[in-house]
Symmetry: C2
Subunit: 280 residues, 2 copies
Amino acid sequence: EAHLSFGGTQGVYTHTSSAVSGEMELSVYVPPQADTLNTGEKLPVLFYLSGLTCTQENVTGKGGFQQTAAELGLIIVCPDTSPRCTGYAGEDDDYDFGSGAGFYLNATESPWSETYKMYDYIVDELPALIAENFPIDTDRMGVFGHSMGGHGALTIGLRNPDLFKSISAFSPIVAPSLVPWGQKAFTGYLGKNTDAWAEYDATALMKVGHRSAAEILIDQGTADPFLAEHLQPELFAEACVKANQPLQVRMQAGYDHSYFFISSFMADHLQHHAKTLMSG
Amino acid sequence: EAHLSFGGTQGVYTHTSSAVSGEMELSVYVPPQADTLNTGEKLPVLFYLSGLTCTQENVTGKGGFQQTAAELGLIIVCPDTSPRCTGYAGEDDDYDFGSGAGFYLNATESPWSETYKMYDYIVDELPALIAENFPIDTDRMGVFGHSMGGHGALTIGLRNPDLFKSISAFSPIVAPSLVPWGQKAFTGYLGKNTDAWAEYDATALMKVGHRSAAEILIDQGTADPFLAEHLQPELFAEACVKANQPLQVRMQAGYDHSYFFISSFMADHLQHHAKTLMSG
């Protein structure tokens, strides 16, 4: 499936993932600049990680990234949020656990540990797969995302700063160990030993020395119904200040948690990544 | 339901329609300029008519009109495509007849004639309803749409040039009397007397003297799978040339029938309407 969009190509693809042992769907936007590359020339790429309940389809249809990606010459990759159709009991029961809620970690609790390896999928498998099939410059990769995907972007970016050189997030979960969404998911996927949780907690990672060389950008709507209970960006902001990590948190007055919020600031996020990835 | 979007408000509303005798959902985008109007000052408004199978939700989420509407100060109203839940036999059987396929006409065949009065709904009821609830300037209204909604925009605009001063369409059905989608719908809603069809056929209307004072804009993708069988914009173009109706048909190479096509040229359409509606 491929659609022309702002002069580039918005594709949707399915592949068999070794990391999660199953079929995975993802979308890839290739901007018009790809048609006129010189030999060996490649384009920077951003990986967008979606939030709870989403597939690639939500942000691909509603995120509005294609216009600015076409202007800047960015490839945008949007993976799914979990393995699908595993057959595990309870897989589809909750919106915040199981299908659509992979939390970008490697599960260690049975049965999830068999296939819920979204961390490995995003960090190891996906960049290699995309590099085989699209003209991406693997030295110019950034990661961003929304809500659970903002958590994914922060943790994956902070743990792999040589791989992902720029990070941003829309209304991210920044301290999953301390909030209900994260506690439920981490208990189910990682067990009750909270030591294991710290590897997947952006605020905890910041406290033990993980860094991004570039400034991190976070946009957060003040009318977001999940702000006080699940998101609490101030916890991450405080850790960044103490760690001297450059961070810009923009509290956007009146905006909520929806794609209307994401699309309103999408262009800013692409510009943020381009500033780092295209400065060389 | 209301979301902040590009500084304006994207609302979704339900009301009881007298024209179609039932509940109707619609979306209204109000740009940020509405917050600082002087007394008596009003904003131009565009009515967007969606295509087969759609509700207001598709274009509201995927059309990408909010950014340019916010820049230009346009109110955008997106109604549904048919009455819903009428209980008529076969209402939900076909994607191209009944629910989601109202064709913006007043049905005369039973039972559809009871409620399928989408022409009256768009022309009479909706502008009055919107004017009661939002600061629209009823002297500066435009109409546009996609596919079946492009047909609606052309026919409603041409029959009511004093009401809708600007018209545009994405991949419209321009000669429904001559193509399968239109023939099926018109037979079902209007009966077999094809004389009644001409009132809802843009090409036929152009031939008998209906006009728009402003240039009409049509964008049509060359990779649109419905182009040859259902759309055939050349039929309308030929009638416009003969009638001296200013028309610009832009054949967009490689684009299909999807919202990826619509969103790629949405800004151009809003600019097209603004040229007429904001020139005074």
